[in-house]
């Protein structure tokens, strides 16, 4: 990997500032890689790491950006999505950051990417063993909203004492008749640690189980990295009489007619008109190009 400064900002009377490949210096990247290796060795365990200040705000993907910077090589092809879409502003900004500081190739096609950084979604296209999925994580601690103290939650994990979480889910059932957690739905990894899958909709949870790709989770502000190695058992917490269920959409995607995918609701007018479209823009575009047409879509050849 190149340690040459490859990007610079012109400045008038002041000397130029040059940055290392993927912004971070090699020592920092090595420190992050060590944390990643430990995280892979202990699936689902939150490894503390000395997160650095990045040139984007905390809470906007600094953890994911640091993990991506640490695993990225010059030959990698990077895809960045936010809410499943490649063209959301923060995804554009992060993709631009790596284009500038690492000069790696980027893509919007899930199948072509070797590293995919994501916020809030797992792509609909199945991942393969040559890919790394990097999640941006706001609050890595699944127990945080049940117990705000890190000193306490660390002990609970050490003792595998997850009663609090089960009580919370049970209270949901007692109050609402079903579990009322719809995203950031807690999972148990490799039969040991309970883990926050980041705020993906629970619809995506089953995709984490036995996934051939390496899944890395980076929380910059909270200074934690955790991982799901390829082909690891990931089980969404549930009860025998209230098994885990994912969301179902009544209608297919209005643009590409896909079913069994996660849809976004788009408000069309102020008279209650709305439509449901794929949240995964690459998946939707690919299907449309293949000739699939939804209720409000137009055939691919007419769209040009």
């Amino acid at each position: 990997m190149s340690a040459q400064p490859i990007s610079s900002m012109p400045r008038s009377s002041m000397p130029d500032i040059t940055y290392n490949f993927a912004y971070l210096d090699e020592q920092t990247k090595r420190m992050i890689r060590r944390a990643i290796l430990k995280a892979i060795a202990v699936p689902g365990y939150q490894v503390p790491f000395a997160a650095r200040e990045m040139p984007m705000p905390y809470g906007w993907g600094t953890g994911g950006v640091q993990v991506t910077a640490a695993v990225l090589g010059p030959q990698d092809v990077l895809k960045v999505i936010d809410q499943g879409a490649d063209d959301t502003t923060n995804a554009v900004a992060i993709r631009g950051f790596f284009e500038k500081t690492a000069r790696v190739a980027t893509t919007t096609a899930t199948a072509e990417a070797t590293v995919i950084q994501t916020r809030h979604r797992i792509p609909e296209t199945a991942l393969n063993e040559n890919q790394i999925l990097v999640y941006q994580v706001p609050i890595p601690e699944p127990l945080r909203f049940l117990e705000p103290r890190e000193t306490e939650t660390r002990q609970l994990h050490a003792l595998a004492e997850y009663g609090l979480m089960h009580v919370k889910l049970y209270e949901d059932i007692a109050r609402h008749g079903h579990i009322a957690t719809t995203y950031a739905y807690p999972v148990e990894v490799a039969g040991r640690y309970v883990m926050d899958p980041s705020p993906i909709p629970k619809f995506d949870n089953p995709k984490m189980d036995d996934c051939p790709a390496l899944q890395l989770f980076g929380a910059g502000r909270e200074k934690r990295i955790y991982a799901i190695p390829p082909h690891t058992r990931v089980r969404s917490l549930d009860f025998e009489d209230h098994p885990f269920k994912v969301q179902h959409f009544a209608k297919p995607c209005a643009l590409c007619a896909a079913t069994g995918v996660y849809l976004d609701e788009v408000i069309l007018d102020d008279k209650g008109g709305r439509m449901f479209v794929c949240s995964d823009t690459d998946y939707c575009n690919t299907r449309q190009a293949q000739g699939h047409v939804g209720e409000l879509g137009v055939p691919a050849e007419d769209a040009a």
Binding site: Y58, G59, Q83, R119, P199, P201, E265
Partner: protein, 361 residues
């Protein structure tokens, strides 16, 4: 037919261009220079260096300009740049007793060796708008004394001679924890606590410090001494076998003297709360000292229960770069999660409506 909103890339480019234009303001006016910022908005620059944890007047001035005067944004710029700097060594501990003092005040003694030195301060000014500053003017002739600078021993050292105040902890020679190079885990030692507070948000520490004066972890504080001036930074260079002076930095140091009733092992004596900040930031140094003292409740066997005493709460939330990022990230799209919640609320409403209908029949 529906076309989804696209063009994030172009929108970002245009927004940034507009930001640049707004930053420049009226192009008919001269652009503000970094020297002007450094010389005339000194305290803003000081705050950016202190909370940015990087002592560089020129870069801090640039950050203030680039951030359009938004100091938290400027601090953020400095922090992000700081990340890229290599670490080539650690200086010797600063000796603030050897400071070239520009200002020094003690609230505990009327006079003391070295005297009180009012220096450049807003204290005792009448807060009346000075319209003469509205124009170019504002030149002030200053009479300078002819006295040679006096040695100014720290007030806490004077108190220490009588054993009336707890001794400063001895340097055991161990490498202090570095919050910028290792993740913090609670409970923390004093070095970690002081580092975290030193780069903590001034407003946040001010509010917490204030709360200790209003009965939430009251500690009967006196300003033993507050001093501001230039301190030499010295680096040990093992290859050379001697110390090298790197220059001076300006710092504000506050030694807060607090009551302590004593315990079975320790006779009654005064205790300390400590504040040290880059530049002239007295409000911050004093607040830091108050909060630092409040966080020592366990070690001194005091009653807990006030917000300023809660180490995990105080230290986890005092960094304004972290805080602003996470608060402002709520602006980012959350529509995937919101969709999941919409679905749930609709389902729950339908279930409830069905139940009510059933009950009515």
């Amino acid at each position: 037919m529906y076309v989804a909103a696209k063009g994030g890339e172009k929108a970002i480019r245009n927004a940034h261009a507009l930001l640049g234009k707004r930053r420049r303001g009226d192009a008919g006016l001269p652009s503000i220079t970094l020297d002007q910022i450094a010389q005339q908005l000194t305290l803003a620059v000081d705050r950016v260096m202190a909370e940015g944890s990087l002592y560089d007047v020129e870069l801090a001035s640039l950050a203030v300009k680039q951030a359009r005067g938004d100091l938290i944004e400027a601090i953020f710029l400095i922090r992000a740049f700081r990340t890229t700097l290599p670490r080539f060594g650690n200086s010797r501990p600063l000796d603030t007793g050897d400071m070239l003092v520009r200002r020094r005040a003690s609230a505990t003694y009327k006079d003391l060796p070295g005297g009180q030195l009012l220096g450049p301060t807003f204290d005792y000014t009448h807060r009346l708008l000075d319209t003469s500053l509205g124009g170019e003017g504002g030149e002030h002739a200053v009479e300078t004394g002819s006295d040679a600078p006096l040695a100014m021993p720290r007030v806490t050292d004077l108190l220490g001679q009588e054993g009336l105040i707890e001794a400063a902890p001895e340097d055991d020679g161990s490498e202090p924890f570095d919050i910028t190079r290792a993740p913090v885990s609670f409970p923390v030692d004093r070095a970690t606590r002081l580092q975290t507070l030193a780069r903590g948000d001034e407003g946040y520490l001010l509010a917490l410090g204030y709360s200790t004066q209003r009965g939430y972890a009251r500690s009967h504080p006196f300003v033993g001494e507050i001093r501001f001036g230039d301190v030499e930074v010295v680096l040990d260079v093992p290859e050379l076998g001697f110390e090298v002076s790197l220059g001076t930095v300006q710092v504000t140091e506050c030694q807060m003297v607090n009551q302590f009733k004593g315990s079975a092992e320790v006779p009654p004596q005064f205790t300390r709360g400590y504040g040290l900040v880059f530049g002239q930031c007295e409000r911050k140094a004093m607040s830091m000292a108050l909060v630092e003292r409040a966080l020592r409740w366990q070690e001194l066997g005091e009653e807990p229960g006030s917000p300023a005493q809660d180490e995990e709460f105080v230290l986890s939330h005092c960094d304004n770069v972290q805080a602003t990022g996470f608060v402002e990230h709520l602006k980012l799209p959350h529509y995937v999660d919101f969709q999941a919640e919409l679905d749930l609320v609709r389902r729950m409403r339908a279930e409830q409506a069905a139940q009510m209908k059933e009950a009515a029949e």
